[in-house]
Each structure stands twice: as structure tokens, then as C-alpha cells.
Subunit: 249 residues, 2 copies
């Protein structure tokens, strides 16, 4: 089982257009520090599933037939905008498994093209995708949102974005699971006020403490968080790191 983080940025991505902060300046000059729309690819037993579809070059990245389907965490633009073009392909049917969100995104439900939105996940539903077992985990966000527990070949990864904290039921299920890797929303540096819709670093570390994964990777990172780490030496727990675009787990 291999998880590749294709994009690790927040909605604005990195560099932010017209921003001169140290993090954006660095991303402008050093492409390794860029952050694309938050998304990943999970490969297991010969199948490849995209986790979110905010990348706008899906038709170039993925040869026809190479994607088994898409696991959609939710239908905000930065997680779904790549579907607007992909749908107009031909001679394929691409299943999109996501939350049961009556609004979806833009006109995707009205004009799905080759995409099949017909089987949304129920909370805590499990599906076998080849040899990969996927469990849908409700998260806390401004739109119906699911994280995914990915289990296969004796490895166990939780991919939890976008969220601020965790619902009790999701936290309890994950506390009963031996997580090899936790990929977690952490959009901003510590905030003085309780964060909304996305974890700040304080809230993210609290969830990591609760879930005790072997390794935790922070994603959905905004430019302020990168700049905050550049300002001064900052210590993270030994098993916690910031994601990078292209990172493989």
C-alpha cells in the first residue's frame, strides 16, 4: 500500500498569488516548496484511487483507465475543481465515492459526464476496493466531509482533511485502531481563538496526542504556517512532520 501526497496546500495554494511573505517568496523561487490543492493517491493491490480532485490537470496526470476511481472527502472547490474538466471524457465510467452532500459542487451532479456519484458513503460504512478496506469517517467542517481509514497489506493509514478536531465517534474508532500513519489537516499556526473549519497547529497536535499514530503528517498547509516555521526554530514531536507535495508514505 502506497500513499502519495499530490498536493498539501490549502485553498489558496502556495505561493499565494501576489503574496510576498517569506513562505510564498521561497515557494516562488524553489518549486519544492510549492503546495498544490490538497489531494493524494492511494495505490494498493493493483488499484489506484485518487483522494480528492482539486488538481486541475487530472487528464494529463492520469492516463485513461489508470484511475480506479475517486474518494472524495467533500465538495469544496479546492478539493473538487479538477472534476469540472475530467467529467467530459468519453468511454469510461469513473466512480466517485464521497459524502452524501445534496449540493455537491457546481453543476457536477447535473452534468456528471463520465463520473458516477450514485453511491455516496454512509458514516462509518466500509467498502472493499480490491484489497483495500476503506472506512468513511465523519469529520468537522463547514460542508459534509469524510476522512478515510485505509487498511491493506497489514498497514493502516488515516487521511483526515478538512476538519477542525474530530467528532467523538470518529475519535473513538481511531483510538481503537493501531495507526501506522495519520495524515491530518493543519492549516494555520496556533491561533489565539478557537479555529473554525480547519485545525490550527495546537488543535492538530491535540488530535495526534489522542490518536497516538506511529507517524503523523500535517497537510492542507497555508502560507502562514510555513512562514511561522521559517520565522524561528520550532519543535514538533518526533513522530510529526509537515507534508510536502510528492511525499510518499
Amino acid at each position: 500500500m502506497r500513499l502519495t501526497l499530490l498536493g498539501t496546500g490549502d485553498a489558496a495554494q502556495l505561493p499565494v498569488y501576489n503574496c510576498g511573505c517569506p513562505a510564498c517568496a521561497r515557494a516562488q523561487s524553489e518549486p519544492a516548496y510549492r503546495r498544490g490543492p490538497c489531494s493524494a493517491l492511494i495505490e494498493c493491490g493493483g488499484q489506484s484511487w485518487l483522494l480528492d480532485s482539486g488538481l486541475t490537470d487530472l487528464c494529463e496526470r492520469f492516463a485513461p483507465g489508470s484511475l480506479s476511481g475517486i474518494l472524495q472527502t467533500h465538495y469544496h472547490a479546492d478539493h473538487a475543481q479538477g472534476l469540472l474538466h475530467l467529467r467530459w471524457g468519453t468511454g469510461l465510467r469513473i466512480p466517485v465515492h464521497g459524502p452524501d452532500d445534496p449540493d455537491g459542487f457546481a453543476d457536477l451532479y447535473k452534468h456528471p459526464g463520465i463520473l458516477d456519484f450514485s453511491t455516496p458513503f454512509a458514516a462509518f460504512e466500509q467498502r472493499m476496493l480490491g484489497t483495500l478496506r476503506v472506512t468513511a469517517l465523519p469529520l468537522v467542517h463547514s460542508k459534509p466531509t469524510l476522512g478515510y481509514l485505509l487498511e491493506g497489506h497489514d498497514r493502516c493509514i488515516a487521511y483526515l482533511t478538512d476538519t477542525v478536531g474530530l467528532p467523538d465517534s470518529t475519535r473513538e474508532l481511531l483510538q481503537d485502531t493501531a495507526l501506522d500513519v495519520l495524515v491530518l489537516d493543519c492549516s494555520t499556526p496556533p491561533r489565539d481563538t478557537p479555529p473554525r473549519n480547519h485545525n490550527d497547529l495546537t488543535r492538530a497536535l491535540q488530535s495526534i496526542e489522542e490518536l497516538q499514530p506511529a507517524q503523523a503528517v500535517l497537510t492542507h498547509i497555508g502560507h502562514e504556517l510555513d512562514a511561522w516555521f521559517m520565522q524561528a526554530p520550532r519543535e514538533l514531536p518526533e513522530n510529526v512532520c509537515l507534508a510536502r507535495d510528492g511525499m510518499t508514505l
Copy 2:
């Protein structure tokens, strides 16, 4: 005054994902035949205005400050999807002048970021954008849609997409105008049944005959139209040609 056609394809673009037709095969192997989302750049008197924003790499194409603003024909995804990312820039205000469409596109009105949608055009309203005079022309499409008459430096260009035919009022205004260039929606080869939402070639040539421009350029081209032209020698009137991505007028 210079008009550059940045994209000349329909919603599916060219090549269509997973399509093996002659036109898509050619576009796959020869990038000059690719067609991106239908859009253009009008430059006049030191200002640069984007005509539609379906390109998803606007932040890379246009350095901060280089765009005076955006003239939006309508709010379908293939004409507006590039705004989903551009809006999250900082320290700028980019005016978006378009039709008065209460729905807009996705959550752009709710979260406009640096975009300013506050001054939509009324039908036939004229605005001076620097030395460029712009007149908003109602079109016939499945969503509120405007074409634009662009006049500056003794040149006159009409950009009319997406449309099937023309409303009488728009046709009459343009018949009273000496058009140097008409850029016109022509999405498909001739259809047996009356086309809906987009011109087929028959309907496009009829509008060209009515408006008598010095030159006509067909855009918003689907793969079936390119393939139809590849199948057999086809004659177009001497003053009519197919658009190509990157073409300058």
C-alpha cells in the same frame, strides 16, 4: 488593439480525455492542435482584459497586476473555473464585469476573495476601459450570457460566445457596425436538427452572412468539428477560418 485567443475549445477541450477520434489523436501528438477552455486576452491602450477565465493556470500566466480585469461572458464552468483559485490572491482587487447572473458559478459570490463582481453589465451597456469601448451584447444560451463589442484605435471586434444564433436586438446593433473581426461560437459540424445552446457550422455561417464582418473566426470548437474538417476537403467562405489557441488578431 490586440486580441489573442488563449483557448478555442468547447467544455471538453481537445483532446477529449480517452477519445481516439482523428482530431483527438492529432491533438494528442501535435500540441498545436490542442484546444483549451474558450478564452481570450484583449490588450488596448496599456490595459489587458481577460475574456473569460476557464484557464486554470491564470496565476502562472498573469503576473500580479498585469491583468486590468476580466470580462466574463457567462458563468459556466469552462468559462469561469480559473477564478476558483485566482480569487485567493492577496493585496489586489480584480474587477469581473459580466452578466447579471444571480447564480454565478459555484461559491464565487459567497467567497469572492480578491474578485469584485459588484458591477455586472446591463444589456447593451457601454463602458470605457481605458481607451477600449466595450458594449455588452445579449446572446442566446442556457445561462445569462453576454458577447462583447470591443472598439478602440479605429478597430472593431465582436466576441460572441457562447450562443446559438443571435437575439434580434444584438443582430441589429451589429448590422449597423463595420466589424473588422467577428469571433463566433461554432461548436459542431452541421446538425440535422436545430442546434441548442451553441452554433453548429450552418448556424454560424448564417450569422456571419447576416453581420458581414471583414473577417470571421470560429471558436469554442469541439472535437467533432475538427474531425469533420479532417474527414474530407471542406470549403469555408474566404473570410472565415477556424481559430487556433494562441492566434492573435
